[in-house]
Amino acid sequence: MLLSIRSLTKTFPGTRALDGVDFDLRAGEVHALLGENGAGKSTLIKCLTGAYRRDGGTMTLEGAAIDPRSTAHAQELGIGTVYQEVNLLPNLTVAQNLMFGREPRRFGLIQTRAMRAQARALLAEYGLDLDVDRDLGTYSVAIQQIVAIARAVTLSGKVLILDEPTASLDAAEVRMVFDVVRGLRERGLGIVFVSHFLDQVFDLSDRVTVLRNGRKIVTTDIASLDRVRLIEHMLGRELEDATAHHAAARGPRPPMLEFRGMTRRGVIQPFDLAVGQGEVVGLAGLLGSGRTESAELLFGLLGAHSGQARDQEGPLDLRSPRAAIAAGFGFVPEERKTDGIVADLSIRENIILALQARRGWARPIPRGDQNRLADDYIRRLDIRTAGRDKRIGELSGGNQQKVILARWLAMNPRFLILDEPTRGIDVGAHAEIVRLIHELVEQGMSLLVISSEIDELIAVSDRVIVLRDRRHVAELTGTEIAPNRIMQAIAATEAT
């Protein structure tokens, strides 16, 4: 065994990102590491590359225990990484990038000619013949990735981690990069391959390990696994508790909003969507299938190239989030830390943010009203805090999420979009948010819920729309909303 990880643990405030994960890598294999956002893939990789220090567990490389302290240290140990982007510097030449830190020198001065020759020789091993004096940034992303791989392999040479290396490549370029990776597998490197493109995983990998919620679900030969089983492992069926009541029994809802032909070129194919009053529409699909993009289009965050939105009274203007908010929409984004909370403001200030923006900054909400509002929501949503003026950044993930919810509930929206509302929060808060969704629906609010967890979608949705490859491919209602139906719809034609 080349690399062996045992019961790896890593905890962040409010979340346990890795919970006793085991992982093995053989020399001469491509081992796919799969999981949805927040499953722990990137934390595992960061522990391997020294970007994070692990809290517990052991790592051994070729039989020796290792503890990478930094990216440079991991490289010295033999672990190199190629990320989706930001690997190399586009403003330096190909030769400079390849040889950075190892330039041939005489009397302290870089020997440009020797450097060029070495760079060319190195690239020849990968079947590339480039003008090494050109800026790296002038080459295609595929070439840049191969140059990055070449650099990582020469620097490290034992383990190569490929973290979504193909996310911005087209089919021909993917083949080009894969040929290089296969060549490295022949040379006996252990390769960890992270990707959300299942076709590529089946194409390239020998074995696969699936993580979910910071735990290892399975490690197995890729040949013994079919697509539906794999997706089942990734999406899981965890929320099998009493909250999983099925909403379909409530029958059809009165129509409220209608979207027609919403699209943005290269981002999401045209789709129609009708939302009834008090209805919960769930969006299912894998990472990168266009779920978040659909929501952002509806909220005016991404400009739609065409499409119309209307309610019972007439057309709606959704050209910007501001317009969408005026139309009674709300949006709880996926990236809570960067797009949701303002970490340095207090809970009170975070709650009144949207309300104050709508009133206009010239008319501040009186402090007394602010306090009442904040206290009211802290009580209603059971936000666990020492007080309303505590910095929101100090709260746990679940409580932060409740504050963001409170921000929108204070606006009293008729249509609220929740993008991964339970991402990265603990199980208790998880159930509370599901319960809260049920309450809101009772009050007549309409919701669009995006989630990677199928059971969560089943628990809350009246209807589930399945996305694949940036397209709305299926709509399931009533008794069709069942785990196997959803997974089949996600897996269906990806096999072609």
Partner: protein, 324 residues
Amino acid sequence: MNTRALPLYVTIGIFLLAYLVFWLQFPNILSTRVIGNLLTDNAYLGIVAVGMTLVILSGGIDLSVGSVIAFSGVFIAVLLRDTSLHPLAVFAILLALTTAFGAGMGFLIDRLAMPAFIVTLAGMFLARGAAYILSIDSVPIQHPFYDWLQSLYWLMPGKGRLRLIGMVMVATFILGMIVAHKTRFGASVYALGGGEATARLMGVRQGRTTVLVYAFSGAMAGLSGIVFSIYTGSGYSLATVGTELTAIAAVVIGGTLLTGGAGYMFGTFVGVLTMGLIQTYIVFDGSLSSWWTKIVIGVLLLAFILLQKALLKLSRMRLAKGVS
């Protein structure tokens, strides 16, 4: 084609064009006397611009250099007036002082993760204030060694005189080119300017590089101060106000990207000469207000910033095409 060198070619083109226009109007511009004066008069600016180029390449900025030049002049003048130290010893003390000053600013920028703008702005006030404390009035420098330094020149063919300080500037630019383009330190500077996070991933020692960059700029500012004191024969705390901005302008006109990571030391040399040429033209013309220099420099700066934006867009478009 590689777009990297395009701003440099544009800079050289503009300089040659300006020279041509100048020559059509005043044929004797081609004489080595004018060229000698161009190098002599802009020596202090060129030297400080060498340091500034490196700072800007690293993605930073150094606003303190103008004040450091003034401080250097007063420091030298006061020390030569009040002590019996030899000027060379004074130069050594001064260079150690300004280098340490720059290194200190670099240390703060790196350790406290503060914007270079703020730290060097504080440095600007500090150095200017220190100059005032030494002397409010202009202090003349009277020393035989200084007279000798001022009298040194190389008589070029055509009776033009390349004075010592002009030679020092040319030598400084050669040094700057070696540092920027031929050392690992220089490569690290470009890497930092290209992207700090990526540079760290590639093994750049960010702290060390940052400190060295500002130390280098401090040393250049000190050397520029020495040259300026030889040029003017005095030290005055109100001198070279705004020189840091002129130096930044020269760097940008020289084709260096203000956000860092791309540019050439030689471009800055041409940038300094271009600015000097405009000034010389206004002197030759005689009827123009010298403020026209500022206007032309303003226009040139704007043109270069637009050019760089356009180039950036062009390379991005090409990249996008490469992906699809």
